[in-house]
Point group: C2
Chain length 259, copies 2
């Protein structure tokens, strides 16, 4: 079922990295062969799985995107601490990549070209995106089959959805006709507040069955896990946050079986 899923939302701090790490790890724990690709210059997904400042034999995602196209993709992958989970790490050189990519041929497809030969070795490839709609996110939208959209149930997060949906429409028209929504995930959900309930109702009305049944509650263990270099699903598997991401991974798998 080799599938490339871009985890994206240009609104900052909505749980993209936390979702990418924990979905990738939970799918690996469920027996899938998973690759986590970090295209965010902040490198939070890389450090969140304990690989901060590490690179493959040929380098990081930065070299994979800006270097010679004939490189062996294996040279950019690292084994994580979890069986079945490999990682293509980021480094802060990616900050400059947006400017460098502009001058390169094929600038929107460089990530798609890098991942193409890896497709048959992984069941799922998860891409963590930066909080913007620039060339790095564009590369992820061109490479991906589907987009998983984490959404913090607050007003500003709702506002940004229209921009994201419009960008996806433009990518579909010009660069990646098959791009679809994998799902919309409500994160840091606090059912006690009116705001949370209102935004959740608006999102379900707009995206309908694309909204996952699984909702991620606010849970401090999700905030603590990265400082230990571990996904929450291995750092504290019985926490509410870890259990929610494990349920989400199973919901994602069940949706594909139904396909």
């Amino acid at each position: 079922m080799s599938r490339i899923i871009a985890v994206t939302n240009q609104k900052g701090g909505v749980g993209k990295t936390t979702t990418a790490i924990n979905v990738a790890a939970a799918l690996a724990l469920a027996g899938q062969r998973v690759l986590l690709v970090d295209v965010d210059p902040q490198g939070n997904a890389t450090s969140g799985v304990g690989l901060k400042n590490q690179a493959g034999p040929l380098g990081t995602v930065y070299q994979a995107l800006t270097g010679d196209e004939a490189q062996d993709p294996d040279g950019f992958l690292l084994q994580s601490s979890i069986d079945g989970l490999m990682v293509a790490p980021a480094d802060r050189n990616l900050t400059g990549a947006e400017l460098e990519l502009i001058a390169l041929p094929n600038r929107e497809r460089r990530l798609a070209d890098f991942l193409a030969p890896l497709r048959d070795r992984f069941d799922v490839i998860v891409i963590d995106c930066p909080p913007s709609l620039g060339l790095l996110t564009l590369n992820a939208l061109v490479a991906a089959d589907t987009v998983l959209i984490p959404l913090h149930c607050e007003y500003f997060a709702l506002e940004g959805l229209a921009d994201l949906v419009a960008t996806m429409r433009r990518v579909r028209a010009a660069l990646n006709p098959a791009l679809d929504i994998e799902g919309v995930l409500l994160t840091m959900y606090d059912e006690r507040t009116n705001l949370g309930q209102q935004v959740a109702a608006d999102v379900r009305a707009f995206f309908k069955e694309k909204v996952y049944d699984t909702v991620i509650p606010r849970n401090i263990r999700l905030g603590e896990a990265p400082s230990h270099g571990l996904p929450a699903v291995t750092y504290d598997p019985r926490s509410r946050g870890a259990e929610a991401y494990t349920a989400l991974a199973h919901e994602i798998l069940a949706r594909h079986v139904a396909d």
Copy 2:
């Protein structure tokens, strides 16, 4: 005391916009002449003060940055609902501005040139930045006298500080020698968690007296206010969030008197 303060941190969702809006509004309510400049393509600061989809007679920040340099800056300003607070609104065209600015002369100084003639009409100019270290944030760092860094007391937010400080050092060396730190603001602080206390202790050890005494607690009214198009300091002035931002505005003023 005309001062240009860039509110920036490339980490997403740490409270940049909430801080920019409420500091600008609280300073205006304290009798200062304030301009709030929105250079984030998301336009959250613009909608957070009730000016969504509005533009000045000559346009928005997008036109001010990419258009002809001889334009009258007044043509890009709007009056907010608060006496003493003017706004230079953003629009989503700014998403493309990063690519367009690259080809323009003076590309890092276009915001500085736009704000220069406005300096003597305002006591404080507050710039809300996007969650990245691209050309829009670079323009803000070149235009600013100081940087106000909102920091969410969590692991990933701490990680990004090194990149921000390194970028400021590069800007100081090449483009804006006087750039200094206005202050570091602890936001969404929850003193009940170990993580919050640990990160706060690390930040105070590193930034010392630059860290504001005022700390912003997590407070739902700060999340609700933008959906009413009002800063929290006018939407619900007695809320813990509004009182904290009012205290912060007075701490900022007191620090300048001491200069």
